[in-house]
Amino acid sequence: MLRKLGVTLLSGAALVLGACSSSSTPDLCSGVAAPCVAFPTGTAASTVTAAFNGTVAANTTFVFGSGTFAFDNTLNLPLVTGMKITGAGIDTTTLDFSGQTAGAGGIHAADGTQNITFSGFTVKNPKGDGIDVKSGVGVYFNKVKVIWTAADNTTHGSYALYPVNSTNVLIDGCVVIGSRDAGLYVGQSKTIIVRNSTVSQSVAGIEIEASSDADVYDNEAFNNTGGILVFALPGLSDPSGNHGTKNVRVYNNNVHDNNTLNFGAAGTTVAAVPAGSGILVIAATNVEVYGNNISNNDAVAFAFVSYCLLDLASSPNFCETLPNPIDPVFNPLGSSAWVHDNTFSGNGGSPHLTNAAGQVQLFGALLFQIKSAFPSSTISELLWDGIGGPGYAPPTGTATSGTPPNPLAYWQKNGASATFGNLNFQGGLVPDPANPVPDTTALRFDVADFTWPGTPTANPPGFPLPAVTVPGA
């Protein structure tokens, strides 16, 4: 059961409990269902911290007034069901962690929190992540901003919103600026919506990682290294076998100008993302990508690739021995991507050879190499690495029509034309570490860059996604 810590709060006037009101300040709890705790403008962080560490009843709403509240330690939340933490508005209330000396991250929810809502405030300059929620059930972020402001973006924190190992996650109307990893990140989770949100100046804009049943729609991702990522990773611990990422829809998003040189820390997953990436789907299954505007991303508009490509820096590559003993359950190959009705413009014209630190980055360098080999054309709008599943026979020709080349993946478009490229990486994947810019001959990759001419023959039926139910949403 939950730890219940009871300490009677006897501190003073700054705390407005329940329906009580202060005569000189607006009653922040007015119209808010009890129990409600108000932190009027100017309330000391120590008072805020004490309130969260005192007796907190289920379904308590904490209301911050306008202005800035400065913290020197992570704000740790109690394990209480149904809490709402709200501010006066996304740009009106700021929890400022610029002077943080203890704790890693801005707000840390207790492991296993149920039905928690964050709404209407900004978290500024946290050391580490913005808001962490681990093993949550019912996690709702509504109009929350996380921003890092230091000029040197390598000093920024990692993840802005970080629900992980959670179920029923809704991120709605949120804003992230400057994450050194993924801005809006949902990992090892299930039943997810990310919508109406904006991420910029981050390494990864929106990332769905090792998760299932997710809808990502009506978002804007721009000026990041990569706009929207749908990833699966090996080596995770979820005993349910949820290593893979599956059943994800990415639609009606505006993914543009994601050309910020990669400033992620080496060793992180996102450090392998080429600058100029629109939407990347890696080792995922059942992914539908449609209705997105994908424009002016310098490297590639959309890529559907295996984990092998993400692991280019390793020797041997993860894919050289399958099943890999590190994680025999993990399938590094994606399948069943259905990509249609997206709008492309101005993508793939100038991939970057290096990251922000000037280091050659293999995935990006690969695209750079391709572009160099075909100076008069751009990187295909739909790019596939050509790595199929066991028993997969690579296509023999470069021109393919009608049936998609990978039996595990469906590539289709309805309406406007798009270019399709097959990197044809079915073998000999690993580049020579001493010569990190891939040698096209040695690698045997074969760019089949052509316009997909066919009419869809059989659309995959898609897959049902359960509705995300979050109280108050």
Partner: protein
Amino acid sequence: MDQRLFRSVGLLVGGALLALGCGGSNSTPSCTPVSGKAEPFPTLDAWCQVSMVGGDVVPNPGVTPYNLNTPLFSDYAVKRRTVWMPPGASATYDGENVFTFPEGTVLTKSFGLPDDVRKAQPVVQWVETRVMWLTGGEWHAVSYTWDQAQTKATVAPGGGVYPKTIIGPDGSTLDAQYLVPQANQCSQCHASNSVTTLIGPKARNLNRDLTYPDGTTENQLAHWTRLGLLTGAPDPSAAPRLPVWNDPSTGTLDQRARAYLESNCAHCHSPGGDAKNSALFLSTFVTDAYSYGVCKKPVAAGGGTGNLLYDIVPGQPDASIMVHRLGSTDPSVAMPQIGRSVVDQAGLQLIEDWIASLPGSCP
């Protein structure tokens, strides 16, 4: 320099509530230790578990002190631990997990910061005494912070940061920002699958001799058994024993390094812990080298990687994220995430030596 203000965010507590039990706090009290209720007492005195005597936090009569073979590092804090159970009650032995304690059990752990780590008898400023107690079948936890005069400790659920200048083992001046945890922060380490739990009192960590206040020396498992505090324990020679991390006579380099990692990391880095999403598991029971970090890529480290690729690169401590994070004091990088603001130089050296000794290489 030690007397800088403790930035406490403790709560105001009515003075009338302070008059429970103990009298003067510089002498052995005449009170009787008590179990806790759902709400903590407003002062440490009210528990009657420990007293400040001669500048040290000592157990009251009937309260049993204990030590651990390999403890958590906490900014070089000196620690005093006690256990007390209601008369007639006893804990049940477990060879792997924390003992099962009876309803009403109270444990305390006091933290004092030394002026100079090199001194055998440093001047210690006592900062806090944490109390964990079992009531209604649930563990509760809160900290009491000591006043400047070292005479009274008052409940401080909001925690606080205590700046302290410490002379480190190499003679360098360390500016510790000692963290008294918020009550909610307790669960970051003390929760397993969202249930508050103890960390230290496991057979393998208690299986050692201790010299008790009456001058006698006895193995702690035998002592607890003899006092009736513990049932079901085998002879200490048949019980598991964790090495003392910095005593080579107690274990191999590998065993001592793994013990250090267990005591400092495994409360989060376990399948039910706060860092389960990392899939890096550091209890001594983990035998799969990948699971304890060898050639394991980080999952959720963000900028904490320090631009390094693997948690542990055999033979290359400087290329290992684990060393980078144990050696950092940046809150966004440092491990453990809370409770350490200065580097444990000897502990770091142990892990470096261990990684240097590991064979193999990473992809």
